[in-house]
């Protein structure tokens, strides 16, 4: 059985807008050979119960993430390219008069 890991399809992070007016939310990741396949796979995996969606896919290697702010960052060398899921971004509750 061949498992040529070098040929594994790249990993993509998926963001979905489930309804007009909502922002895209990170929902997870998937493997796909290219962007078109990533979008089609994202539709199959992450939108089976949502209508009128917008899907963003970004190759995981292009996501840059900040380091966790606590002392634990001393333990792991800083690495701002996330292979893993980026930490969920906190949005302010509602932005009023700016």
């Amino acid at each position: 059985m061949s498992t040529d890991i070098k040929n594994e399809w790249p990993l993509w992070e998926v963001f979905i807008r489930s309804k007009q007016g909502l922002d895209h939310k990170h929902v997870g990741s998937l493997h796909a050979a290219d962007a078109q396949m990533a979008i089609e796979n994202a539709r199959d995996v992450y939108t089976r119960r949502m209508e009128g969606v917008s899907i963003w896919v970004v190759e995981s290697k292009y996501i840059h993430a900040s380091n966790p702010s606590d002392a634990a960052s001393l333990y792991d060398p800083a690495n701002d390219k996330a292979y893993r899921h980026p930490t969920f971004y906190d949005l302010p509750d509602e932005v009023k008069h700016m």
């Binding site: 493997h31 050979a33 119960r49 002392a71 333990y75 969920f88």
Partner: protein, 314 residues
């Protein structure tokens, strides 16, 4: 130095602060989660097989469409979980290698055969029911991606259980042959479902550490008791019986007493000697091998397009 990080980590756990992929974590926490999440994912994918077996033989079009949707959901659940496991540093190919080589396990319930349409009902009611019992608390598991995957899974899982119960309900109101088919399926799926909760607490060495790290929120026996209590009531609606002559309401404990579990059978199946272990694994390996050309073609095509685009740009 390391002790400090352990304390900070445990403090987060105790305060119900979720651990995210880039946070420091004990290596054992990481490895435990990789094993648990990947095996959970494998279970979903292998779990498609016993039910997939009946898609072409569903009694009518509506039931076929529903079963297709359920099996499709299981594929999706597997994918959410693989995706969560990958955040911990294992690759998809490595996980498949572990499954195909037998190094990784999957829930042993899926090593039983589906012999009749009623089995699809029993699986929905009992197997998905047990899974839900296990998965709802996992929505509060300490590792963020796992907990979030579980929230998504639980939303989808409740239709699974209802469709299963509805199948059995329909059969239980049918002909004598249909009632018998339903009871027969319950007779075969009851004990394996009870075993889904794993070994007894005092024979489950990982439980203590998993509870301390809040990977696991309830013990095996706690969940098993809850499941039995609920099913013992639900079966009354079907007018059928649970195949346990020792099943009896205990007024003083407020729970149902139940009979002895055949732990020999449990360990035999876990170790690979169940009715369908070999067949399940061969099916998965064949799917992987026969799909190789698709994976390679897709990669080759993507590479060709990329080169063409950079040539055009130049």
């Amino acid at each position: 130095m390391e002790k400090g990080f352990e304390e900070i980590f445990q403090d987060k756990i105790d305060k119900e602060i979720r651990i995210e992929p880039k946070d420091w974590m004990p290596e054992k926490y990481r490895q435990t989660l990789i094993r648990q999440i990947s095996q959970h994912a494998h279970s979903e994918i292998v779990g498609m097989l016993p039910e997939g077996n009946w898609i072409t033989r569903a009694p009518n079009l509506r039931r076929k469409a529903i079963l297709l949707a359920k099996v499709q959901d299981e594929a999706g659940h597997g994918l959410y979980l693989y995706s969560a496991a990958e955040t911990l540093g294992i690759t998809r190919d490595e996980m498949y290698e572990q499954l195909h080589s037998g190094k990784a396990k999957y829930s042993s319930i899926f090593n039983y055969p589906t012999l009749s349409w009623a089995d699809i009902g029993a699986i929905g009611w009992l197997v998905d029911g047990a899974a839900i019992m296990n998965q709802v608390p996992l929505c509060r598991s300490s590792f963020g991606p796992y907990a979030r995957a579980m929230v998504r899974v639980c939303k989808e899982e409740s239709f699974h259980q209802r469709q299963g119960f509805e199948i059995l309900l329909t059969l239980s109101k049918g002909t004598q042959a249909q009632k018998k088919m339903a009871q027969n399926a319950i007779d075969r799926w009851w004990w394996p479902s009870v075993m889904m909760f794993g070994p007894k607490d005092d024979e489950s060495p990982n439980t203590i550490q998993s509870m301390k790290w809040k990977i696991k929120r309830f013990t095996n026996d706690e969940l098993r008791q809850k499941f039995i209590d609920i099913c013992a009531e639900q079966i009354k609606v079907l007018g059928l019986i649970i195949p346990d002559k020792d099943l009896k309401w205990n007024e003083s404990t407020g729970h149902y007493d139940f009979g002895k579990i055949n732990w020999d059978e449990f360990w035999q199946v876990v170790q690979g000697n169940g009715p369908c272990n070999k067949e399940r694994l061969e099916t998965r390996k064949r799917a992987w091998e026969e799909g190789a050309w698709v994976r390679e073609a897709a990669s080759a095509y993507a590479e060709k397009r990329k080169q063409k685009q950079s040539l055009n740009a130049a």
